[in-house]
Amino acid sequence: MSQVVTSLASRLGDLVGPGRVLVDMPSLAAYGADGRRPSAAVLPGSVAEIAGILRFASAERLAVIPIGGGTHLGIGMPPRRYDIALDLSGMNRILAYEPHDLTLGIEPGITCAGLDRKLRESRQFLPLAPPFAQRATLGGIVAAAADTPLRYGYGTARDFLLGIEFVTGEGIVSKSGSRVVKNVTGYDLHKLFVGSLGTLGVITRLNFRTFPLPPHQKMFVFGFADRSSAFDLCRAIMNSPLHPRLLEVVDPGTADLFAVHGANFLNRDSWFAVVEATGHEAVLERHARDLASMSRQAHAAEFIALEESQRNQLFACLSEFSPIALAAAPAATIFRIAALPSAMPTLLEQIRSLADDHALKCAILIRALSVVYVALLPPADANLFPALIGCSDQVIDLCISSGAAPVIERCPLEIKIALGVWPPPGNDHEISQRLKCVFDPHEILSPGRFRGGL
């Protein structure tokens, strides 16, 4: 161990106490981000300790990456510098939970699965069903703006995050928002933190609005011979009085992946629309009736109301789309593309045709008619990187020219280096730069991971 690392370990040890600083190589391997490893990992137990660590790092210009479950560490560009991993997994307490107020205050390190168990005791939940839910922490989910199959009904974390407490890059403890369900006091700084990848501050507390568990739920699956019929159905639902909480479309490539993960009731050659309704029995019966009628009008080849176990399998597949794609092809390149519903059918046709041109398998998931996930699935052969890079580049160009906003959410390092993962910055970039400077003037927080090199 070098003298520098010994000294760093000792300085961090002074701040958090012995036993909560890791500097051995096997431990640090778990904190790697895009091939970079930190010189030390530190496990703070309090907000004051985090503030102390960041004041120290700021003074020494050491780069810090806040980490929860580490499940979203590959998102964004490789960090320019990486000295300290700030492991928040030990800060996992529920600080306040008032079921009758439907409000919750938690530390960032609590896992999604752990929190869900706790909320279910009061018949409530947070409509977040992110990938890697067993390990993903709430702090990480918010910082990565992790998506959820429930967004059609409930929106995303941005819509029900009430406020946060955070520590800036200079080690200043601050807060934004409140603990009640409605508030316009002061600027909504917490909105900036959703999806900021730890580049503005370290979140130390999150306040959420919780939701009552629905009395009943029913998931319906529609099979179609072609893409356009699947979109016809989605449009019919959008224009109907029905308001399901989940509306997703999967292509044959994704159906193929899901079939391996237990959803083997999906015919591998079809496009599928998946709808979940909630409410009292009479409401579910109404959905079943209307959806059956829409299914006939959209010429669906099949229309199934799923059993509970099938529903759970398919729901898990939908939320775990990225891990499933990565399991099928470790070099999978997964795009998250925000688009308007009307642009989606043509965009998908063109993307699938690009994948065909490059002899790449492709899997597509359309979430809540808001976001398209496209996974390009190369075989395990490094010689295929040129094809993957070429295809990805064309997908990005195509999206931008179609008015869609693409981000590469998961991909091999080679793709990041060749193409970058973010679209070029817009004319609001100067504001983002100034804000970064306000929150993290010495650029020590996750430097370089964010859009525009922030």
Binding site: H100, R179, V180, T185, Y187, G279, A404, L435
Partner: protein, 477 residues
Amino acid sequence: MHRTIIQDLEQIVGTTGVLSSAEDLLLYEYDGSVEEAHPDAIVFPRRKQDVVEIVKLANRHELPIVGRGAGTGLSGGALARRGGIVMAFSRMNHILEVDPENQRAVAEPGVVNLDLSRAVEKYGLYFAPDPSSQKSCTIGGNVAENSGGPHTLAYGVTSNHVTGLELVMPDGKVVQLGGRTRETPGYDLTGLMVGSEGTFALLTEISVRLLRLPEDVRTLLAIYDSLEDATDSVVDITARGITPAACEMLDGWTLRAVEAYVHAGFPLDSAAVLLMEVEGVREAVEAQAAEIAEVCLGHHAREVRRARDAGERVLLWKGRKEAFGAIGRVSPSYYVLDGVIPRTKLTPTLRRIEETSQRFGLIIGNIFHAGDGNLHPLILFDHRDADQLHRARAAGAEIMQLCVEMGGTLTGEHGVGMEKNELMPLMFSDADLDLMRKVRAAFNPLGLLNPGKVLPLGKGCGETRLQPFSVSASGEA
């Protein structure tokens, strides 16, 4: 203001686009709050380029600029606290695009809230935020204040419905934030901008999402002999997992004042009424309405009425939405507060407000969004009596402090403006406020946009600092 500046403004927008006479300016000294401030000129841009040129002109002369929609705001947000130019957006009132297929619209800031919903009604769509002033307030004002309304209980506030903004920065640069899709890569600058009360930039275009009109609506009126029974009903409805689209409460004094004016059918001898609405598919609405009635009767509601038709529904809502007008008939002035508390604290908070009312010798009515704990105490006073105005402000400050003490906030939907900026330390530490100042400076470095709003003005001149409720004192942030 120097005559040459007025002439320069007239060069940009024409002579009919500028007001500067003393009697014209008088009309812009007020908004819906109890504050007042004197502007030097009012200018009415018609297009984006007008806004850019006015901003550049103001910059050259270091003049403050305050954006204004319909002037219905309730915290002094649209008042020229430091004088200068009021930029009134009433002529930038075009709906630029309606996209029914994607359920989107793009509007100029001066479009009236209800006009947007009316324009898209033929597609079965509407814009969800519905402030009580929706017949006159503008979308630009809604964005600046992050406005709510009775139905935000189920559908969220303005920030949940805005997807993109076009801004004119204080240096005249035009910037696009977000877009028409619900997410865009990068920091959520749209989310930060909504609710920034005109202190960051001026808006020239607003992209919003639209919602589908519900298939069915049921409006219920639960009538109580005790205020506590009404508040307990609200808590219990939530506890059962029912989310009404709206859940509004009027206390006995307020419902009597409203009834005398609107004749909505509120029983004059009751202690409180709850006005509730459930929306959605027919089957859900029926089940929820039945469940709500059961909860209310279980909490000793004297009666639960259901609006039998659209006419009755409109009348009941008239009783809610025109309540402030009704109060205007019985008191020369009133001061509307906007604190939020956890809904489980409704009963003790209302009791404390009653004590405040007695101690200050002022009538305080309560009409509010009970479902989300957003109180609107109405303090009645006569503005011609300086002592009454002083007592009204002091009682207001005490109630706002009470809301924060209960774990809530100073304002749920009216904004901080120049009414509550000195109370901000009740909720935020010096470090929090310093950071907000720096964020504002990132947009508005010279402080020419809506100066004197949102943040406290400084510690000089022996000003008393209020103590925030610290993490250690309450055990919570």
